[in-house]
Amino acid sequence: MIRVVLPPNLRSLARVNGEVQIDVAGQVTQRAVLDALEDRYPVLRGTIRDHVTQRRRPFVRFFACEQDLSHEPPDTALPHRVVEGDEPFLIVGAIAGG
């Protein structure tokens, strides 16, 4: 199981609380995790990756194990601790409240 943390607005959109746990078949990459996430929550399509280009949208970033993975190629394997479920894959989004 891969643990995914969504930003609060996308949790509301997907109607989930807390972390999401998803099964990913094959190699665990950003693309595989996001594909599985969008399969399970179709409402998230277009909110994290562009509908057409499938590239990360500029107001979200991907992190794991404290490191910024936003600019990693989407087919790069995620860190072992994410694959093992020890650490979540974090999707962090811009918020502006003050």
């Binding site: 607005n9 509301s12 107001f59 490191q67 974090l90 962090v92 989004g93 811009a94 502006a96 003050g98």
Partner: protein, 389 residues
């Protein structure tokens, strides 16, 4: 790294100040020189709301010599749940006046500079140049980008925090060699994707948590002590009470602080954030009905189906007796509606109901309208017993 006036010998402390700041002075990490640095420092708080309240209160108490307070707003009753620098008696007063009064009561030695104005591309650079550090306590994306860009262009650190519901983010942007806000988020989300605190709510305590992180970072920058949050993003989850630290990198491609910047002067931030685009279609593209008109027609016994597209917990706060389908469920539950009847959709303020009407018209409903201003306008114009939230 120390920010601000490095020649602090002119800022000798009086005996009263030595007594007031004695808990600082006994710590070698602050000491006499650090307290003099604080006295010499000039910090601008942009926004005196949820974040700005604790930032300003604690920086004043700590002995920051000059505090700039910038806000165009007046104190509203709904502010009091979290904006602790303002009191019930301040409702209706300019926030800057209210905040300055509290600061004077806490520490009359602070030189408060009041800017009762909206931060804009026209005034930001001139004002920022008069300060050493900027604390961003604003509440919308357009101003967030404006503060960031103005900090980069004037070389001032941007001590940043933002909040939403139960979560917050904090960092120090635009410090020497550190990333800026645009390195993290080059572009804002499209209007409507990330609700504001007014729409999505915010735990009243949360700006206290994040504001104190900002105040701490300001003090550290002035003292030149500790490890500032430069190149790090702190995520705060108040519900889990979990703090996560993420590493950030300065982006060579950043349009404002990168190697080949394309933003070399302040721009139109409303346009950049699509704010104008957000307002126009919602108001213009869908038919609306005014609260007084709806009341008159309902009392006349006309067959109008009132559709409430808010969330169930909002319905519990107040309602008009309408049929509840949250806007997010409308697509899957549209079969519950009768297209032959006239439908008036409403939400809290009119934005979600406009989206609902747009959707319903798109799937063939012809007799649909949005209640202008939502249940808030109903409370204002028709029935003041309906509580506002």
């Amino acid at each position: 790294m120390s920010v601000g006036n490095q020649n602090v010998t002119a800022e000798r402390l009086t005996n009263d100040e030595i007594l007031r700041y004695s808990r600082h002075l006994v710590m070698p990490e602050v000491g006499m020189e650090g307290q003099q640095r604080l006295k010499a420092a000039r910090v601008l708080c942009v926004g005196t709301g949820g974040l700005g309240s604790p930032v300003a209160l604690y920086l004043a108490a700590a002995g920051v010599g000059t505090l700039g307070l910038m806000d165009f707003d007046v104190v509203d009753y709904t502010n009091l749940q979290r904006q602790i620098i303002h009191t019930t008696n301040d409702v209706g007063r300019p926030k800057v006046e209210s905040a300055a009064e509290k600061i004077a009561a806490i520490n009359p030695l602070v030189n408060v500079r009041k800017f009762e104005a909206r931060l804009s591309s026209a005034n930001a650079l001139e004002i920022f140049r008069e300060f050493d550090i900027v604390a961003d306590g604003t509440d919308n994306f357009a101003t967030r980008y404006l503060v960031n860009d103005a900090c980069v262009l004037t070389g001032k650190p941007n001590v940043y925090a933002s909040i939403f519901r139960f979560e917050g983010q904090a960092s120090v942007f635009a410090a020497a060699d550190g990333p800026c806000y645009r390195c993290l988020y080059p572009e804002p989300p499209p209007p409507g994707l990330v609700p504001s605190c007014a729409e999505g709510g915010v735990l009243g305590i949360l700006p206290g948590l994040l504001g104190l992180i900002q105040a701490t970072e300001v003090i550290k920058l002035i003292l030149g002590s500790g490890e500032p949050l430069v190149g790090r993003l702190l995520l705060v989850d108040a519900m889990a009470m979990r703090f996560r630290e993420l590493r950030l990198r300065k982006s060579a491609e950043c349009p404002v602080c990168g190697l080949n910047p394309t933003v070399t002067e302040l721009i139109d931030y409303d346009e950049f954030c699509g704010v104008r685009g957000e307002e126009a279609p919602a108001a213009a593209a869908v038919p609306e009905i005014q609260p007084e008109e709806l009341k008159r027609r309902l009392e006349a016994g006309e067959d109008i189906f009132v559709l409430d597209v808010r969330e169930p917990h909002e319905y519990q706060v107040c309602n008009l007796g309408g049929y509840l389908i949250p806007v997010g469920q409308l697509a899957e539950r549209v079969g519950e509606l009768d297209a032959s009847r006239e439908i008036v959709a409403h939400c809290k303020g009119g934005v979600r109901s406009a989206k609902a009407v747009e959707f319903l018209r798109g799937v063939g409903f012809t007799k649909v309208a949005s209640l202008a201003g939502g249940i808030q306008a109903w409370s204002d114009k028709v029935d003041p017993t309906v509580p506002k939230y």
